[in-house]
Amino acid sequence: MAPAALDSAVEALRQRAGDSLVAIDIWESASALSLAGFGMTPATGPMLHRVTEDLRLAARLAGSILDDYHVFTVTGGVVVVVTRPHLSSALLLTADAQLGWVLSDVIPAVRAALDDASA
């Protein structure tokens, strides 16, 4: 996993999200260790990783299987969490980001960028 590939993934997501992107963090899925990004603190990746695991457990106990993303709205923004087998990422978008656009456009782009970086 080359650092240049991670930087290129961050740059690709920055261009894709445009002005809506406020912060981004990419961490390793196994250890929740932050590898690249900007605008977020080192605590963001591990905490969102833990939140994702809690959701995965709740979904499994409820009879469902968690997909690789979840989106939650926060005060003044939207947080997108995408979990792939090797890398995971969280994007903080502004509040004017449409959730439909996030689901249909941003999340597939994050998937592609993470898979390319981990290849």
Binding site: A59, S64, L66
Partner: protein, 295 residues
């Protein structure tokens, strides 16, 4: 009446009616009439008896002067009414029945009590007793009248918050109607929807195939997410949480208010996400918020 120091417990002074105490067997009542000589009685001279002599040679001692008992002036016998104990309560009752006690301070007394000799003293207007009962005042202020004075106010710690018990009324009929409206809006793409109590996680109403633990699991996950966000250096969570599920399903977790939470699961193949998030979910959120009322 006698004043004596009570040694039974805490040092104090007590009054007892000494006339009611037991008298020694041979003691004579000094107040009894037979013990007081009348002024007509003459003084009696008593000659002392000589002691028997042992030796005849010893001259007898000269006879001492006869003792003269002076007859004291007669003391007036105390009246029975004075000796009888006076009931303090009866005395006050009699005073109250007479009705001659002062009910309010006179103007002269108020002026004399003033601090300035020339300036007329204007007494402050007394606000009177509170119109609300002590229970209501205590419920409103916490400690009743004592909280009105700074001296009795309890010092609270820096981050201490007063726990106020909230009481809410959730209209279950309106809740069912809201779910019916959401189901009709979403249409065939609705998989299930469940509403739970945000404090306990208890499922209140549902549509679709929902297991009993479904609501509590999503409720617990929602709480975990909201609790973790401050530690992730992110802002507080807002209303919606979209969780992507397998088989093309999307779970929308709603944090309606402090009382209600909900989860609506849809099939993304049958539902347009944009319409769902702009129409159906806000309507459901508003309808759920209208069902709980605080009283």
């Amino acid at each position: 009446m006698a004043l004596f120091r009570d040694r039974r417990a805490f040092p104090r002074w007590s009054f007892i009616d000494s006339s009611a105490l037991a008298r020694p067997r041979h003691a004579k009542d000094e107040n009894s009439p037979e013990s007081v000589p009348t002024p007509d009685e003459p003084m009696v001279e008593e000659a002392p008896e000589l002691e028997p002599t042992i030796e005849a040679a010893t001259p007898p001692e000269p006879a001492t002067a006869p003792l003269i008992h002076a007859v004291p002036d007669p003391e007036p016998v105390r009246a029975v009414a004075e000796v009888a104990p006076v009931s303090w309560i009866e005395e006050r009752r009699a005073w109250f029945a007479a009705g001659d006690w002062p009910t309010e301070a006179s103007k002269d007394a108020v002026q004399l009590a003033g601090t300035h000799p020339d300036r007329p003293y204007i007494p402050p207007v007394h606000a009177g007793l509170p119109a609300d009962g002590p229970a209501e005042v205590r419920a409103r202020h916490g400690r009743g009248f004592a909280s009105l004075t700074r001296r009795h106010r309890r010092k609270r710690h820096a981050h201490e918050q007063v726990q106020v018990q909230r009481r809410t009324d959730i209209d279950i009929a309106a809740l069912e109607a809201a779910l019916d409206s959401a189901a009709s809006t979403v249409g065939d793409g609705l998989v299930d929807v469940v509403v739970w109590h945000a404090t306990t996680g208890l499922a209140l109403a549902s549509r679709g195939q929902v297991s009993p633990e479904h609501a509590s699991l999503w409720h617990g996950a929602t709480r975990e997410v909201r609790a973790a966000l401050p530690h992730a250096d992110l802002p507080d969570a807002a209303s919606y949480h979209l969780v992507g599920l397998a088989d093309g399903r999307l779970a929308v977790l709603l944090h309606t208010n402090r009382d209600l939470g909900a989860c609506i699961t849809v099939d993304l193949d049958l539902v347009a996400v944009e319409a769902l998030l702009t129409t159906a979910v806000p309507q459901l959120n508003d309808a759920l918020a209208a069902t709980s009322r605080e009283y």
